[in-house]
């Protein structure tokens, strides 16, 4: 899909996000900050599924929130459809939000338990003044319910009367209500059982085809990413390690971190078992004091002297972007 259209929908330019945390001396000096996102440049093309992968604390969810402008960056900005969204006033931003929606991980927490299905899905339509009359709204809500596979007669039911998979469908219907261009899916299937997970993944797949949606798919589950995405961005501790076409990244990862990440996934095939699998040692360093040079050098088995001192620049190799001194 990504080959057909190559218009950039979202672009982040030298995006930096630092969070203040408690600490520092009496005069407020030396305040520690969490380096959540450091100089991230990504481009999301129209109509593609762009996946952000990495372990907890790598900044993938923060990046998603920055793109929606739920939080403001410390430096840099986000362009959506060529417009710098960080300069928009709040009423202009509200208009812009129609074009970008989000689906959350936990369908139990992201839906108000006191609202019925009708109110949940109708709320964005009413807030943005899309539907003027009650009949119109009801018609629209029914259409959306059909689209995500929830029977319209359940329109007056409350979230607790649905299973996890159905709630996630309601969340998807709510996200679709404003006919957005971009949907950010933040771990949309992590809380679901395997058999339900595949139903939701297929739904997302079908909706994308039908409505020409662009997905930013945030996930720690590499198998799901492999299945759903066109391009992948691997992140480590707030930095981009590698960006490229999904197939290239999974078949021949260039960055050592990508390689270890893919190797670590438990494969559902006992015949592929390896007795002495090479494992990544150690744990994620602290984002408060990220390692100097390449942030991955403390865990990397191929560390050279240059890695400790000099930060690797992102280089373009065969249509891929990689940040590693080795390549």
């Amino acid at each position: 899909m990504s080959n057909l259209k190559s218009r950039v929908l979202v672009e982040t330019l030298d995006l930096v996000k630092e969070f203040d945390i408690q600490g520092g001396d009496f005069f407020g000096r030396n305040k520690p900050v969490v380096h959540a996102i450091s100089n991230v440049n990504i481009q999301i093309m129209e109509g593609e599924t762009f996946a952000l992968v990495g372990e907890s604390g790598c900044g993938k969810s923060t990046l998603g929130r920055l793109i929606l402008r739920l939080i403001d960056p410390t430096l840099g900005h986000v362009e959506f459809d060529g417009i710098n969204i960080n300069e928009l006033k709040s009423n202009e931003m509200r208009e812009m939000r129609k074009k970008m929606q989000i689906i959350f991980q936990d369908p139990y927490a992201s839906i108000n338990p006191r609202m019925n299905v009708y109110n949940i899905i109708a709320e964005p339509l009413v807030t943005h003044g899309i539907c003027k009359t009650k009949e119109e709204t009801r018609e629209m809500v029914t259409q959306l319910m059909n689209k995500v596979g929830i029977r319209p007669e359940f329109i007056n039911r409350y979230p607790h009367q649905f299973s996890g998979g159905q709630r996630q469908r309601i969340g998807i219907a709510r996200a679709l209500a404003l006919q957005p261009k971009l949907i950010i899916c933040d771990e949309p299937v992590s809380a679901l059982d395997v058999s339900i997970q595949s139903q939701i993944l297929n739904l997302l797949h079908d909706l994308q085809k039908e409505l020409q949606l662009t997905y930013l798919f945030i996930s720690h589950d590499l198998s799901v990413v492999r299945y759903l995405s066109d391009r992948v961005c691997v992140m480590f501790l707030g930095k981009v390690c590698e960006i490229g076409d999904t197939k290239d990244i999974f078949d021949s990862p260039l960055h050592p971190y990508t390689k270890f990440l893919i190797d670590a996934v438990p494969k559902p095939d006992p015949f592929l078992r390896k007795e002495n699998k090479e494992l990544l040692q150690g744990e994620m360093p602290s984002p408060v004091n990220p390692p100097s040079g390449c942030r991955f050098h403390t865990r990397c088995p191929y560390t050279m002297d240059i890695c400790k001192n000099e930060e690797p620049k992102i280089r373009n190799i065969d249509g891929r972007q990689v940040a590693c001194h080795l390549v």
Binding site: E55, S56, S163, G165, D193, V194, S195, I196, Q197, S198, Q199, L201, N202, H205, H220, L222, S223, V224, R226, Y227, L228, S229, D230, T246, K247, F250, F260, L261, I262, D263, A264, V265, P266, K267, P268, D269, P270, F271, L272, R273, K277, L279, L280, Q281, E283, M284
Partner: protein, 337 residues
């Protein structure tokens, strides 16, 4: 008799105000000595309740209503409370999914792990207990064990906390370790480390492991033998290689086809239609039949038994499946209609 643990026809029911919930509805599971046995299934299939039944940690309104749980030939269900206390943490230990909630935040991890030793071995000195704890910390791969002895749980990362939990479970050299979703809360690179550690411990110390998980990938990585559960019953059981090579039950088959494979291309996924049934309103006949693509009229009337599947891999443990498609072969012993 080389089975370490043998569960026979176990039924654990919950007596709620709204009716009886048959969380476990007659399962038989054997764990041979020094092996890793897996139980896979989706939420609500009874996999965690099996572990809780073995540990006898089922709380009201739940109750084991039938069956036996034999550890080296002795029925644990006949044990008194005091006898069970001497078993838990000593002969059978357990690790949980969320290492933060399973550890006490106000005590150091060293103190919590030494507590396990002092409870089961009253005559051991404090210094010896500490030495044992540091040894086990080293064995489970905790860096700088002497320093970590005095750390509080919040000072450790998720992976280290899970290592402490495993250390706590292994410190009395149990015969069986029950691991309930031990890696679900961890990142993939840490998950791989923990799985490798469990395999290593089983090899070095001969501890049997009962691994409970929803992830077929985890099972495929380390288990020897697997039970697939659905709505309180075992649907299929086989050696791990046999299960993947010769998948027999339509449910197991559906599960395998619905996981996205990291090795496969972007395509539409297979899915099992419908959802897991309400245990209070189980369908008549086979409990999987409303979702089954190969259901026959008979499946809606009668409950199938476990039938044997013939195969060349059966020297690694026999293959049984609860499905009428295989009813021409012999029925598993102890099976009650």
């Amino acid at each position: 008799m080389d089975d370490l643990l043998r569960i026979t026809n176990l039924k654990t029911h919950f007596f709620t105000k709204r009716g009886v919930v048959p969380a476990i509805d007659g399962i038989s599971i054997s764990i041979p000595k020094s092996s890793i046995v897996g139980i896979v299934g989706e939420s609500g299939c009874g996999k965690s309740m099996t572990a809780m039944s073995v540990m006898q940690l089922i709380q009201k309104p739940g109750k084991v209503v039938q069956g036996t749980i034999e550890l080296e030939g002795e029925n644990l269900l006949e044990y008194s409370k005091e006898q069970m206390i001497s078993i838990r943490g000593n002969k059978i230990s357990m690790i949980f999914q969320e290492p933060m909630t399973a550890l006490n935040p106000v005590y150091t991890v060293g103190k919590q792990v030494s507590e396990v030793i002092t409870i089961h071995h009253k005559d051991i000195s404090k210094a010896d207990a500490k030495k044992n704890v540091i040894d086990i910390f080293r064995a489970v791969g905790i860096p700088e064990p002497e320093k970590r002895f005095n750390s509080y749980p919040h000072q450790l990362s998720g992976g280290l906390r899970q290592r402490v939990m495993i250390g706590m479970a292994m410190v009395c050299n149990p015969k069986l370790m029950i691991a309930d979703e031990p890696t679900t809360a961890l990142d993939v690179t840490i998950e791989a480390q923990i799985l490798m550690l469990m395999k290593q411990l089983q090899k070095d110390r001969g501890t049997s492991i009962l691994l409970i998980t929803h992830n077929l990938g985890v099972v495929a990585e380390i288990c020897d033998y697997v039970y697939v559960m659905y709505a309180g019953k075992v649907m299929e059981q086989a050696n791990i290689f046999e299960l993947f090579k010769n998948t027999s039950h339509p449910y197991t088959d559906g599960l395998m086809k619905s996981i996205p494979k990291i090795t496969a291309e972007k395509e539409r996924l297979y899915n099992i239609k419908g959802i897991v049934p309400n245990l209070m309103k189980l369908p008549k006949g086979c409990r999987f039949c409303p979702r089954c693509e190969r259901a026959m009229p008979r499946c809606f009337e009668e409950d199938p038994l476990l039938y044997k599947v013939e195969s060349e891999n059966n020297n690694l443990g026999e293959h049984y499946v609860r499905c009428f498609l295989y009813e021409n072969s012999e029925v598993k012993e102890n099976e009650q209609p």
